[in-house]
Amino acid sequence: MNHISYNSNIIDLARRQFFGQAAGGIGAVAFATLLNPQIASADKAKKTPGILEKTHFPQRAKRVISLFMHGGPSQVELFDYKPLLKKLQGTELPDSVRGTQRLTGMTSNQKSFPISAPGQFTFKQHGQSGSWMSDLMPNLAKVADDICIIKSLNTEAINHDPAVTLLQTGHQQPGRPSIGAWTSYGIGTENADLPAFTVLISQGSAARPADPLYTRLWGTGFLPSNYQGVNFRSSGDPVLYLSNPPGIDSSTRRRMLDGLSRLNQKGYESFGDPEINTRIAQFEMAYRMQSSVPELTDLSGETDQTFKMYGEESRKPGTFAANCLLARRLAERGTRFIQLYHRGWDQHYNLPSDIRLQAQDVDRACAGLISDLKQRGLLDETLIVWGGEFGRTVYSQGKLTATDYGRDHHGRCFTMWLAGGGIKPGISYGVTDDFSYNIAEKPVHVHDLNATILRCLGIDHKRLTFKFQGREFRLTDVHGVVVKDILT
């Protein structure tokens, strides 16, 4: 078959269609986005542009790697050092601190709210920046000067589902596009042979059961579904339905697709519907994905040195460490938004033992990812975001003993860190009170965080919108202020 003549047809029609309905809605957008890979490949660049012709600001980060710590890691044990707590161990959290806070049903009936210091963990300052971290993150501590720690994140949500949904879609109720979908809608991708928005999930080592995730977290809401995140799985097909059925090898598939393309081309000649050419192009991209995805997920070419950097766990598919290594490979190949979820951070009880396990899962891999991107010259153009949907209470949930305690959800303050493209390295931003309970200085709401992430990508969060049910929607809804102090 003659690919070239198809492509020239497609290019021709794409231009006509695109210009013919430049102000068009979903159809025009989806059409242009889906066809442009063909135009691009004719130009030997495999980009898929987004809805924005050019970014609103210079692009400091070309892509995002979001390391989502699902369940809500405790800022009290990890980053937010509060020396006063040791003295107050076991005493009641003053009412003046707790105020009128809405508690979850898990502790609202508790009669006592004893302060629990993170006594089993030692905090130290690290690097030239002197950032505080506990001994739960010994490897991350070594790259302290590469990261920016925000201690004043806050959210209104107090339970996992609404909190994660708020952080990732800008709204507590389901139905809005996720940040990865917004990003690929806005600025497309640099590699049309791979999905623009990729999701990698790992199970935590904590003993407590992990909270559920939801497909909608990488969904598109009201955006067309071609912007949805594609979950790369660690067992079975990495992308659903990627493998040919038993008995169909690659050459048979090629033969079938050649026949199909020729039939569809006849259909096009008869109907003149440009969607037919798009479909031909999509089958071709599916075929390319059948080789590009396995090549991507095959880690056999990585050196021992690299595995050592991410930790030996990175040899085991499906671990957080392996996913971090995959994230680097995706970043190298131009994927726009790489979303990792590491489950199991919901330490309502047995916090000391479970947080150790969780921290071990991620500490070396995070540090490895930063170092690896840096040595490959990719850190400057890749934004890494680490954190969960909320923090944990300084008071103990359940019984506080000499060795054990738990912590409930806490949205008033929590810690995240960012690194790479557009972010000032080696700083801490925002201050909480002596109890790590309320924000004392420079609050950063989750909308502010999202506005800042988009800004690093060159996007004005107020100007990336989609009209749905009578109004323009955006990721930050009607909120969000870019945290300029942390930008380079």
């Binding site: 269609q17 909608r216 090898d249 048979t252 079938m256 026949g259 089958f283």
Partner: protein, 336 residues
């Protein structure tokens, strides 16, 4: 506060009680400006792919102006005067000259119409759009003859790749228990819907997640759709079962007759000589390949849980399965 309706629309009928019954009467009252217009617009969207008001979910100030305002009003009045007769209304549309136009564009149409009216809002030719997610699957089941026509009953769990629920469920302890037998072949409206993790083959084709009401679906065209049609067990099994039909049902047993039979089942027309030749060439090439590799042929026809017709030659059945798979994946097959 008193009970009433927005005065900007129309008044409650005088005799209407100020309760839900009154509200219902007001909604379908002759003076209500929206109800009939909104519903006929949705039926129009259903048939033509796009409503006369494109923003079918929004008739307010932020919605789009109708492409044919007089037609919309006429249809709304006709619908009310027919006694809100849905069947009458659909008959009216599908027997209209506008609906019955061909979707084919002449060479002039391709260059001129696409430039003037790329979305065909002026309806210079017939509608042509991809089937909805549920219908893509139901269509393949119907063509192959696998469809279980039972009406009603509890939801069913058709094929789904392993591990999808487990990866995200609480404590990873929830696995998908796939049905056996007819549960695999029911219409997609009976498919069990877990909002936390909806069926991926449906999401690929723009089925809404069912978390919010959706009046109008986007209609994308993506590589994931291609992969689903190429490799999902649902479609490979449908291809194998269609191949069995091709080998047993037509009176003539020539390859040509079999291709014609399947083509007609799939898209309700016979193949043109050029189309038949493409499939015939593919059949002959693939037959050679499978003759060299009988094991591959045997593996292909084991896909799916429905019983295989053991009397059919393994190599031939596998070869026809590839042909049927191509026919089921054709743009015209998944397009209305």
């Amino acid at each position: 506060m008193t009970v009433d309706v927005p005065v900007s629309l129309s008044r409650l009928p005088k005799e209407a009680p100020k309760n839900r019954l009154g509200l219902a009467r007001w909604l379908v009252g002759r003076t209500h400006p929206l109800t009939a217009r909104v519903i006929v617009n949705r039926y129009w969207q259903h048939c033509f792919g796009t409503g006369l008001v494109k923003t079918a979910e929004d008739f307010g100030t932020q919605g789009e102006w109708p492409s044919h305002p007089d037609l919309l009003d006429w249809l709304a009045v006709e619908f009310m005067e027919s006694g809100w007769d849905v069947k009458h209304f659909h008959r009216l549309i599908v027997t209209s000259a506008t609906y019955r136009q061909t979707a084919k564009l002449s060479p002039t149409g391709m260059t001129r119409l696409l430039a003037i009216d790329p979305e065909n809002r002026l309806l210079a030719h017939g509608p042509r759009f991809r089937l909805d997610a549920e219908v893509v699957r139901d269509n393949a089941l119907t063509i192959s003859g696998l469809l279980a026509e039972q009406i009603g009953g509890i939801s069913v769990k058709p094929y789904q790749p392993e591990g999808i629920w487990k990866a995200i469920s609480y404590d990873s302890n929830l696995t998908y228990q796939q049905d056996r037998g007819s549960g695999l072949y029911r219409r997609s409206i009976y498919t069990f819907w877990k909002r936390q993790s909806p069926p991926p083959g449906m999401l690929a084709f723009d089925a809404p997640t069912r978390e919010t009401c959706t009046v109008r679906r986007p209609r994308t065209n993506t590589p994931l759709q291609a992969l689903t049609l190429m490799n999902d067990t649902t479609y490979i099994e449908a291809a194998r079962v269609l191949a069995q039909r091709m080998m047993t049902e037509p009176k003539q047993t020539t390859p040509q007759a079999r291709i014609q039979f399947a083509f007609r089942l799939a898209i309700a027309r016979l193949p043109k000589p050029g189309e038949a030749k493409i499939l015939l060439d593919l059949f002959q090439k693939q037959l050679k390949e499978f003759k060299k590799n009988k094991q591959a042929a045997a593996r292909l026809i084991e896909v799916g849980e429905s019983k295989r017709n053991q009397s059919l030659d393994v190599i031939e059945l596998a070869t026809w399965t590839t042909i049927a798979s191509v026919i089921l994946s054709m743009d015209e097959t998944v397009t209305k």
